[in-house]
Amino acid sequence: MREFLLSIGASAWVLPAMIFFPLIAAVIVRFFGHEVSDAQSRGGIDARRLTVAALSIEGVLGLVLWSVFDSGVRGWQARVDLPWLPDIGAMFSVGVDGLAVAMVVMTVVVFPLAFLGSWNNIVVKTRAFGALSLVLLSGIVGIFVSLDLLLFYLAWELMLIPMYFLIGIWGTGNSVRASARYVLFTLLGSLLMLVAILVLWNLGGGTSFHIDHLIAVQMPRDVQIYLFLAFFVAFAVKSALVPFHTWLPDAQSSAPTFAAVALGLKVGMYAILRFAIPMFPLAALDPTIRTTILVLSVVGIIYGALLAMAQHDFKRLVAYSSISHVGFIMLGCFALTQQSIEGAVMVMVNHGITTSALFILAGMLQDRRGTTDMRAFGNLARIMPAFSVMLVVAILSTFGLPLTSGFIGEFLVLLGSFVERPVLATFATTGVIFAAIYGLRAVQRLVFDRNDDAESRLIGDLNRRELAVMTVFTVAMIWIGVAPQSILQRIDRSSIGVVEAVRFGPNATLPNVNLSVVK
């Protein structure tokens, strides 16, 4: 398969195709799709079907990328450089390494499933919804594959506006306010990052925005620290690290299912690992900064879990649990050992899958009853047996039961960070316990508790489409939990790369040092 794909030159076109295809598809969906009511009464293609078809093609492109990726090679793969703005040296430069390929493939596989899983969530203005979803996807893929910092910034902001509309127009509750808050918070961070990008570009001679060029720029320590902070705040806001998290629960709980899933993808954490840490190693190793961030991570793990325990609304519970996961990812990133970084990437991937599954499940409850308040439900084991099974698996994965996808990532993070900071790692471990508490309590309240509310018995179990979607998620969670090597071997070399770049300079290599435990 790989030979065939390489023989048709897949590595030369797959990344540009993954960025531009959704944009073209968005136009097609907007102008050739039909609203649900029209499609039923007058014929024509339902815009939702077109959207799912486009998202699936993007998913197939993602699998093509996954197959052509050579895990034995260090450095960028499937790289494409095209001229773009010659006068400031910006290029359309895309490429992936192990971290990026894991994130981007996970994203493009989750998106069609999320759309299918929330099929009846959106029935009005579906043309616009589908088109915006595709633009959003293009932005997220662009974030993961950009090697040019200006292109990355454009993709970063391109993600923002579709998300704003998706939450504001199709959201529930006070979604207009939540979406505005999301944009304003993110914008404050990202505009400071824009200034930092400009300064960095100036320091690099004003000729290129390419990451390989900028990583090699020599900077004094204090400049590195200022620039690092600008990048870090932008990424921390986007990924909702405590104390920059306040926008997330509102946005994610009022967003339509699909947008909530997209908010759960940790683009900010990926960007920290891709840009902030390797470009400013002196800042990332600065004891004050590093300790502060690690403490914030652990605070986030525990604080997110405690708040998740206090929620009655299932969507908010999942949102707070993701704040807790962000703490794990950040702990892994800044512990700066190979295991911890591999673990952080694994948590990102697991989080992308598990949280998506939970939001899709929450969306199913919402579509059936119009609420996700756990007090309104109960006894679902009897009413919705298939749903309950899927929910239990996803919850088990979210608190990291061994043999689910949640385990391997958190385990590696804790293992890797214990070497560096044993005390903090010990505190972080308690987060797993709290996660088990809020997870199991949610299962108990939704699935097992008696509920005398007559209305709660009238909801139906998963239909075939929903069952198919959730089966894919469940299989993925268990497959990653049982056999994580297929992902780990792809991210292995890139994680070593990050550690080496930080600890020994950008071009150093460690000969014959095998730090990995899971092989």
Binding site: V176, L192, N202
Partner: protein, 523 residues
Amino acid sequence: MAIDAGSLFRVLAPELILAVGAMVLLLATVWKDQGNVEGWAEGGERTVAIARWGAMLCAIVAIAVIISWGDGVSGTADDRIAADGFRWAIDLILLLGTGLSLLLLEVEHGKSRAYSPEVPVLMLLALVGMMILVAARDLMLVFLGIELMSIAVYVLAGVNRRSSRGAESAMKYFLLGSFSTGFLLYGMALLFGATGSTRYVDIAAWATLHPSLDALFILGVALVMVGFAFKVAAAPFHLWTPDVYDGAPLPVTAFMAAVVKTAAFAAFIRLMLESLGTAVERWHPAMWWLAAITMVVGNVLALSQRNLVRLLAYSSIAHAGYLLVAIVSNSTLGSTALVFYALSYTLATMGAFAVLIVVNKGRDSAPTLDDIAGLWLVRPGIAVAMAVFFLAFLGMPIVGGMGFFAKWYILQAALQATVPQTTLSIVLVVGSVVSAAYYLNVVSTMFMRARVDTGTPTVVEPRVAATSGGIIAFAAILLLVLGVYPTPVISLARRAVPQASLVEVKHETKPPAVRVFRSAELR
């Protein structure tokens, strides 16, 4: 230096075409039947059309002349009149803006029947003034241009004779405008007194030779800055802006917000760069604070506006602050950024006002947020275009098109200046975040709210005429295309460098006179 009539004629050809055209049109419209004042007769309508299309024709001929020259005319007959890429680039933007304003006038006239044939002629005269202003390298020419421009615009602000708000607006504008012209003129006189010349070359040379503090010179610079700060609506000299914008007819407001402001900024940056560039350390702190205060005041006051014209007025004050950052950078990068910004801002402003004219349906009051609530549900295309314009004001990449690169070049100018303006850049981006709150409020009103029930039995949805639809589509598409492929505008802006060489020559002849200032002196 002797003035060669032939080359002077060549260098002033676009201005002469417009001036002659304006006078011919004036005479033509006076001779034609205008109908009575209340009900415009058929003949009156035809006269209005003649004036409008005649004015358009003049603008198109002037554009054609400038484009046909390309890089051809760069020599100058006289060191008082610039003939550089900066002038031609700004002229093209002014002509484009005026052309769009004339089209907006037609749309508005179709709705309210409020304009006489003199309006297009006045716009042409204002345009001549602005183009002289952009070319001026002599304080006397600056004054000539600014007066020609201002007097025409005072009249334009009050041109709707049936509107008392228009009269109030024109009166305020006239009083405050003449007041500011007084400052400007006084400052010019002091500069002349200090340096003994009104030419930029001589002033720059004098400033290089006299690095010490000179009260007369400083006072002159300060008063000239105050005069220009009035014209470009920089805080704390901005108070007239919301009232005047609010009362003037919408096409005239668009003209003032985009075209007049561009011209004033172009003249301002040329003055600061070419004549006072060598004395930068003497005006730098004042300009720094002017920029910072303007950005803060504009953005903060815009937050609470429900009236869309007032909102755009305050936002234009904020944008003036961003452009002042380009002046603070005191480099040719600043002028490049100004050209790029001016095009982006002109397109977005014209488009936004075209939408306002459509939703206002010819009423004599300014449109508010209620008028655009739920616009997406009834006029999706217009709503999407308006979102593009507002996101362009905000400076969003891709969805806001050129707006992003406009801000980018300002930031680049600020950070690549001799003394990097990091603090000011941070003020700029924080101001942008504040501005996001009110720009997004407009967007969310259009997309996320229901239509406001006006209580009338038949709610008339806004109708989109071919002209207004065309302007809106033109502006939005151009913004978006140039937002991903800005290279053509960049190459235009790159050539647009005021001849700072005038000053640099002086640097070489007398290097010790240039004071090397430390970063601590300049924030």
